[in-house]
Symmetry: C2
Subunit: 424 residues, 2 copies
C-alpha cells in the first residue's frame, strides 16, 4: 500500500482537541469514513469523517461533491489518498481551514449513524484455522479440519439485507431444530444463540466480470475495515447446514461498526504473513512477495458482554475474550480478494468480505461462545454470578478493535454493539 | 391469489395481432414485465410489458410514473392487480387506447433487455428431491439424501453481482480443483462446467426485519417468475463446498430470462401440492390449506443446446431434457417465502429466490448435465455426432418454459440463453 507517510506522522496534531487525547480511537492519523445525520432528524445520511469525538461533514468542506459513499469508495487509490491528505491537512493544528471547518463539526454523541455504505453482496470467509478446528470438532468430531482448509480460503455468500449498524437490536430468531434424541424436528426460538467476532473488509474499486484480480493488485481493491458481529444460531445451523451451508442460522441479523478505517490508515500496522512449518505454501495465485513480507495487518480485538442485569445495576460490560488478527487469520485480506475473483466473479464498490470468526490459538482468544463454553458445556461465569452458555435475551454484545505499535499513533476501529431481544 | 378473472379470459384478443397467434409466449393473458431500451442506444432502461412480438413502453401510457421496476414491484397486490387490469383493458381489441398506445410499441427484435430488476439479495433453494438425490449420490455415495431434506427447504445465499440477462456470454471460470489421485490441488479452467435448469421467483412487497411472513400471506409477497440458469463448475464445487457450501463454483455467472411473468398471469395454472405416501407432512409453519389445495404451479420446462459447430452449420438447438415443476419441486414458492422469513430475515422488493435445479423423476427429466451424463460417465450424443459430458467452449444453452392447460390460453416465460467462452 503506497500512501503518504505524512498522514501517519506521530507528531501530527489536530485543532480538534479531543483527537489529541491518548487512547482516542480517532486521532488525526485515523480519519475513518461513515454515514451520519443529526440524531432525531429525518435528513438523508451524509458522508462524515470521525475526528476525536466529532464528525466532520465532508461534503460541506468542498472536498467531495457526493452524498453517496459508494461513489467515494469506487475512486482510484490515488484519488482516495489525495482526499485523505487534504482532510488531514485541513484538520491539522494551525491549518487555514480550521476556522471554516470548525463550523462543520457535529459531536458524535449528537448524530445517528447508519451502515457505512450500500452493501451489494456480502461474502463471509472462514479465515481462522483455530475457529475452523474448534467448531469442526463439534460438528464433525472425527473430521474437524477438512482437507481443503489449508488450500482454499473457504467462503460463502451471506445476506446483505439484514446487516445493521452498531446499536441495533434484533429478535431472537425462530427456526427448525432437531435434538439428537428427537424423532422429528420442531420450530421454536433458538436456544443456542451466539455472536461471532469478525472484521468486515469493504471493497473499493470493483472488477469487471471475467477479470480476475491478481495478488499484486488485490489490496488496492480494498477500501477499509470495520468491526462485524455475525450473530449465529448454532442449533438452527446444525440441522440446516448440510449440504449447502449456513442459511437461516445466520441471515436474521449481522451488525457492523459505523466507521470504515481505511487501508491508508492501517498502513503502519502491517505484519509479515507467516505459515507454520508443515503448512502448505499457498498456490501461486494466492502468493506474492508483498503478501509474504507485509501481507497481514495487526489489529487487536476484544469481546465484551453486558447482561440486562448488569445494565440495570449500572455495571460496565465485562471482557469475554480477545485476540489479534495476526494470531487468528490464516489468510490475508489480499488473498481473500484474489481468491474471490479468480473465477471471474465481479466485486463491486461497497461489497463486504467478512473475515469469519477470528479466534486465536488459546482458549481465551475464542471469538464465539460456542468455542468459549465448549458448545455450552462449560458456561462462562460472570463477575456478578450470572452464567452464559449461549446468549440470553437482553444481552448486549460489544466488539472493539484497535491497532498499536511502537513509533505509531494508536488508531481505533471504535466498537459495534448489539442487543438480543426476546423472540417475537 | 385473488385476481380478476377477466384478464385470463380465453376469449380476450389484443389489437396487437402477433399476440393472438397460437403458441405465442406473450398473449394478452400474460403481460410480463421487463426492462428495455432501443437496441444500440445508451438510454436508461425503462419498464416495458411484452405483448406478442412487441414491447409496450409502460410509463408512456401514463399508467405508471416510475422507471424503477423495484418501485413497481413493491406495490401492494391490489395495486399490481389494478395495473394489470388497466394494461389488459388498453391492449384489448377495440380499446379506446389502441390508437395512442400503438405509437408506444417497439418490436422485441429492436430492443435490448437487461435483468428485469435490481436484485438485492439472491437465495438459491434446492427444491427438487430428484436432483438432490442424484447429485447427493455423486458427492456422497453412502448418504445421498440427507435427513433434513424432507423437513427443511434447503437454501443458501448466492451472488447478485454476476447475474446477467439472456444473451450473455461468460468466460469459463478458473478455479482450484483436486483430482482424487492428485496429492495437491491446482488452478485451471473448470473441466466440468454445467448448467442448472431453474426458475427464479421475484419478491414483490418485502417484510420488516424480525417479522416472519406466514403461509397464508406468503404468496402475496411474490411478484413473478423468470427462467434462471445457475451455471455451475462441478469440479470446483467438489473441492470447495465443505463445510460452508458452494461459492466460486457458482458465483462467476448466472443468467435470467428478461421477462417476469406475474403471479396474476400464473393463476390459471395452479395445481395441488402433493406429498408421496411416506413423506412427512410439513411442519405447521410450512403448511396451509391453500397450499395443500393449490400451492403448486404447473410450469413446463425444457433445456436445449446449440454447439458452436451446430451454429456454424446453421443447425437449430437440440432438446436435452425437460420436466414440469409439479414433477420436480418438493416445496412450493409460498413455502420458500415462509421458510426464508421464519427467523425474521427481511426480504426486499426485487430479491430473487432460485428454485434450485428442477429435475423430474425420470432420467430424461434431469436439469443438469451432471445428472444427464452420470457425472460425465455417459456422454450425451448429439444428432451431429458430437458428444457432451460437460459444456464446451462455444456451447449455447437455452432454457424455455411455458404454462398450458385445457380451457386457458397458453402463456410462455420466453427463453434464457447463455454462451460459454474460453477461459481468459
Amino acid at each position: 500500500m503506497t500512501t503518504s507517510n505524512a498522514t501517519h506522522d506521530p507528531q501530527l496534531r489536530s485543532w480538534v482537541a479531543s483527537a489529541n487525547q491518548a487512547g482516542c480511537d480517532f486521532p488525526i492519523q485515523n480519519l475513518p469514513f461513515g454515514r451520519f445525520r443529526p440524531a432525531g432528524s429525518a435528513e438523508a445520511f451524509r458522508i462524515g469523517v470521525a475526528i476525536g469525538d466529532q464528525v466532520l461533514d465532508l461534503k460541506a468542506t468542498g472536498l467531495i461533491h457526493t452524498d453517496d459513499m459508494n461513489v467515494l469508495m469506487a475512486k482510484a487509490p490515488a484519488e482516495r489518498q489525495a482526499l485523505r491528505a487534504a482532510i488531514s491537512a485541513g484538520l491539522t493544528e494551525g491549518s487555514a481551514e480550521a476556522g471554516e471547518w470548525a463550523k462543520l463539526l457535529l459531536a458524535q454523541s449528537a448524530v445517528e449513524m447508519t451502515v457505512p455504505c450500500r452493501i451489494g453482496d456480502y461474502t463471509d470467509f472462514y479465515t481462522s484455522v483455530h475457529h475452523a478446528t474448534t467448531i469442526g470438532k463439534q460438528f464433525r468430531p472425527d473430521n474437524p479440519l477438512l482437507p481443503n482448509y489449508k488450500w482454499v480460503p473457504i467462503g460463502y455468500h451471506g445476506r446483505s439485507s439484514s446487516i445493521g449498524v452498531s446499536g441495533s437490536s434484533f429478535k431472537r430468531p425462530r427456526g427448525q431444530t432437531k435434538a439428537p434424541d428427537a424423532e422429528v424436528p420442531s420450530l421454536g426460538p433458538s436456544k443456542r444463540l451466539d455472536y461471532e467476532l469478525e472484521l468486515g473488509w469493504f471493497i473499493g474499486q470493483g472488477n469487471a466480470q471475467g477479470d480476475a484480480i491478481d495478488m499484486d493488485r488485490a489490496e488496492s481493491h480494498l477500501f477499509g475495515v470495520a468491526l462485524f458481529n455475525d450473530w449465529s444460531a448454532r442449533d438452527i445451523q446444525g440441522w440446516e447446514y448440510q449440504p449447502l451451508g449456513p442459511f437461516l442460522s445466520k441471515n436474521f441479523a449481522s451488525t457492523l461498526s459505523p466507521w470504515m478505517v481505511t487501508m491508508e490508515a492501517l498502513a503502519p500496522f502491517r505484519a509479515p504473513f507467516e505459515r507454520a512449518s508443515g503448512d502448505p505454501q499457498p498456490l501461486p495465485y494466492l502468493d506474492s512477495s508483498a503478501n509474504r513480507a507485509q501481507g497481514a495487518l495487526s489489529i487487536t480485538l476484544e469481546v465484551l458482554l453486558q447482561t440486562a442485569k448488569m445494565r440495570e445495576a449500572g455495571e460496565a460490560p465485562v471482557r469475554l475474550s480477545g485476540t489479534n488478527t495476526t494470531r487468528a487469520a490464516y489468510w490475508t485480506p489480499a488473498q481473500l480478494v484474489a481468491h474471490h475473483t479468480v473465477n471471474g466473479c465481479n466485486l463491486q464498490p461497497g461489497d463486504l468480505l467478512g473475515s469469519g470468526t477470528l479466534s486465536g490459538p488459546n482458549a481465551d482468544e475464542a471469538g464465539s461462545l460456542m468455542e468459549l463454553t465448549g458448545n455450552g458445556k462449560q458456561p462462562v461465569v460472570l463477575p456478578n454470578g450470572e452464567r452464559r452458555s449461549f446468549l440470553e435475551d437482553g444481552d448486549t454484545l460489544i466488539l472493539r478493535g484497535w491497532c498499536e505499535r511502537e513509533g505509531a499513533v494508536r488508531i481505533g476501529l471504535g466498537e459495534v454493539s448489539g442487543t438480543v431481544e426476546a423472540a417475537g
